[in-house]
Symmetry: none
Subunit: 190 residues, 4 copies
């Protein structure tokens, strides 16, 4: 008996992300995903319970990868300011380098298709970053605001710009990026 084939699962993930991002969840049939992944439609049901389960697992998969990317280069020796800068640029770079995956997750940010449980699970991957925020408050580097407010001002503008960049509506060069960071910094610090 063959074991589950990790490569097949990965191929299904990749095909699903690509097709769903391009055409939307409902307009992406299991057959198309199967064909793009090089497997039979029935094979998908070996790895996932059903279409919704496949989406949820794919969503988690991407979110975990994304959270991991954000933490890249962080170390306890860094100052809060340095750490924030690292995270902020990591975020920007991830969205630009992985625009398809980024768009994929954004598509479900306000959608009822991905269930609440998975979304919270997705959030949880980012919790380690939260420690930096709390330290920033304690050290009186950041404004004394709630985490939600902080996140909204620290990352929502980045995401908005990244989306526009991926659509080709805006060009984000080195200088613009620096300006964006400066504005962000002046918003969240005392």
């Amino acid at each position: 008996m063959r074991r589950r084939d990790g490569k097949k699962e990965q191929a299904i993930f990749d095909a699903a992300i690509r097709l769903i991002t391009a055409n939307g969840f409902a307009d992406t049939s299991m057959s198309k995903i199967a064909k793009a992944a090089g497997v039979s439609p029935a094979t998908i049901y070996v790895y996932f319970e059903n279409k919704e389960d496949m989406l949820n697992k794919t969503y988690s998969h991407v979110k975990r990868e994304m959270a991991s990317a954000l933490a890249n280069g962080l170390s306890p020796e860094l100052s809060v300011a340095e750490a924030f800068k690292v995270i902020w640029y990591n975020f920007f770079n991830y969205t630009l380098d992985n625009s398809v995956k980024f768009s994929f997750t954004e598509q479900f940010a306000n959608s009822p298709i991905v269930d609440r449980v998975r979304k919270e699970e997705g959030m949880s991957y980012f919790l380690p970053l939260l420690a930096w925020f709390e330290r920033g408050i304690r050290e009186k580097v950041f404004r004394n605001i709630s985490m939600e407010l902080f996140a909204a001002f620290a990352f929502a503008p980045v995401m908005a710009l990244a989306k526009q960049h991926n659509c080709g509506e805006v060009v984000l060069d080195e200088k613009t990026l620096k300006t964006a960071f400066d504005v962000t910094w002046s918003a969240i610090t005392r």
Copy 2:
């Protein structure tokens, strides 16, 4: 000969916004919209060419209404600072009072379903507000940044918070709102 019934069209708009926001575009059948609007499925095709056309026209309809709400209370005598405050609070209030319509438009912000033409048309309704931004730059109230950067920092955080509020993840009381405005203001001004 019967005349076209504006009430029917409005009923279709309302039903479409409500159902599509709740279940997504693809999972909202024309039959369900028709039933919710109290008309026959075929009647929808009297007012719209097809499902996609219905979505596009509904999108425009909502965007126009939204832009109109944002301009409420504006007058040329206001200072830039006053005008911005009016617009910002108008925006916040609209998203809170019309959470369904706001979610509806957000659902298509990064989706290929609503066509580019309609999105640009939707944008155009907001152009009058642009004049205030340009005046703010001229008067050296705002930072000297591009309109895209400005919009990202002035409104993306509001939208992020509004979404969380509508999901029940965050409570936006008077005080929080004031804080949010202050942070925004410190971000975009010199």
Copy 3:
């Protein structure tokens, strides 16, 4: 109160013949016919009971016209041979000059859509021509065969050629026509 408008009825006939010939009966909607005829769909129901009735009446209309065309130039003084030649060429010319109407009737020759009653009515218009056949038998010009056999050999080949001509598969020049007539003549005469 206005009386029924013959021009409208004629316009409906013309549109129906043209569209049904081009696209078939079932693929020609009442709305399309109405639009092509420059009237409202509801207006068609002033002149006809329903779609089937419209087809049947159109069919009769064309058949009567066709029978009339075949008799053109006939007169009692002609010999049987002369009369047959007139009819045969009339038939040929009609099919070539009125290829759309000819195709229209052919479309229903073996179809259950036009009812039996109308088909027999259509046949009846051709009865006057039958007298010439009987006279030809009596005068021992024609073979002593049944009317059905006679019709099959006298006209079926012409129709087959006319159809091919209208499809562009065959070119019928003067010389070919004469040959065709000669072959026909040698088939049906003693």
Copy 4:
């Protein structure tokens, strides 16, 4: 993995031929064909791309069978006269024994529904018979006329009579058949 079931395809062919001949193409729904064939509507789409493709393939299927029937009993030793007689009677017998299939093909002889490609493919099955015609010309048995004229006079009357027979308008007994053949023979020979 299940294998494709030739019996299912044949059942679909049979049901389609029967129903389309009786009610016409447009008035024969895929559901009805499926039910008559004892399969699910969706199953038809396993074997055919769409309704039109199903019709085209069914048409080809019948044409091939028909051409095969016409060649039954032919052998190179036969004289042209003998061979023609064999073919002619084969044709007649086929139309009488397979009146439904014959009507089926006739229904599309002058219709744009079956595409040109399929019609030419259908024609091609009859090409082997063409050799006999050419030999008949060479041996100066047949008149020196084009193939189209030959076909029109050799077979169009047969077809016309067969149709009337199938409608019950004419009875074709042994003697009538012989007469028909004699008339045909006198038409096409010198």
